[in-house]
Amino acid sequence: MKRLVILGAGTAGTMMANHLHHKLNRKEWTIDVVDERTEHHYQPGYLFLPFDIYKPEDIIKSIKDFIPSDVNLITKKIDRIVAADNYIQMAGGDQLHYDLLIIATGAKIAPEETEGMNGAEWQHSVFDFYTFEGALALRNKLRDWQGGNLVIHITEMPIKCPVAPLEFAFLADSYFQHKKMRDKVNITYVTPLSGAFTKPKSTAALEHLLEEKNISIESDFAISEVDNENKTIVDYGGKVIPFDLLVTVPTNKGDELIARSGLGDDLNYVPTNKETLQSKDHANIFVIGDATNVPASKAGSVAHFEADILTENILHFIKSESLSATFDGHANCFIETGNSKALLIDFNYTHEPVDGMFPFAGVGPLQLLKESKMNHWGKLAFRWIYWNVLLKGTPIPFVSANMSTAGKHFN
């Protein structure tokens, strides 16, 4: 028997287990999935938790409910990958040999990368919402916060779901309106980018929305430290921004196990061929989701599209064929804009998000890059789709792994 091992049973690892358990010849292959956790979190839900829109039980399920019964689920912490000898070293001392390896260990926040970030004010007036604990602590804080300067901040790129901090700003605006205290809150959006987003058309659309919602923006801000005593953030150029409540997205990094294995770049992301998803250093290692260094968004939708491509390429690899399936960087993200509206963006490595209709040219029903209630329902439906369609590896009707240009208004 040959052994395929998947590291990580989050979004990407779970999808791969579901794809491969019926695509591989099970008389020849066993499949193992390793994860240290027993709970699967719907991370997009962390955005809604602070505003009391979702409850914890809406976003947590058991990992094992999503892993097929003919796949071995191993609940252990991975210490390192020993790629030269094709085995996994578990933290407890066990070893697991593999013939084929898929790394899907994701990315996590690293507040310790910034001076003072997890200092005295951490979870008192400095919060993150990229972890369950952070989002929950922030919810409790917001419930009785009296107002002041709310600063929403991105430390450095890349981060998971790069639009989430903007959505947080929009939702905060609408949350304080509903609490009838918007006039007591100044909202500032602080980013290391030169504008609200990275690509021209979406940046223009999003900056317009920020202005409309009276959210000020500070761009090109490269943080050097959080000053806990004076409650300010300071950038290398000397800019100082005071806060009463700081909601920051700390540096995101791949898991430390990647560093221990000597397989990562300076942020512990694994150098990966952006089209085939094969690791650049080891032919029998493939990488998917947030763990890669490919220049695509770190998003569940991206992992979903990658999973289709990777499944094909794993089958090619086993048959010693060339890896002919190529990923184009396709991402598809809803952006919550508050007051039960959202906008939708669809893009890839080469095409920036533009306006138009989706998924059917001229028909929609979803509108690209424009606020609508329909898009908001799309975002909320995404949670159901995530648990019931995405994780199971079922294709989303009418949305293909590689991006379609139909119905879009490029210049």
């Binding site: 450095e156 890349p158 790069p162 090109d220 050097s224 300076d266 893009f347």
Partner: protein, 102 residues
Amino acid sequence: MEKIIAQKTVQVNEEGYLTNFAEWNKEIGEEIAKENNIVLSPKHWEVINYVQNEFKNEVPLTIRKIGKSGVVDIKEFYALFPVGPLKTATKIAGIPKPAGCI
């Protein structure tokens, strides 16, 4: 669009970044630096060479990368290129403005 920099006609984008690195030379670098009120010292040139090499190797540039490059730390980088250091350094170097991945 076309622009004449240091007596040479080059292709630039709306923001003034060269769109074809092959057209770049040191005089062009010096001219763009001057437009940004920077007089290039040997240390500036070390940074410029470094970012050009990273560009040729297709490594995406970030402030963090520069800070860990061994060429300068982030404080020194800001001292050399005070306003938006990465944007300015790449412009002088004749390479695209780093996008900051999406």
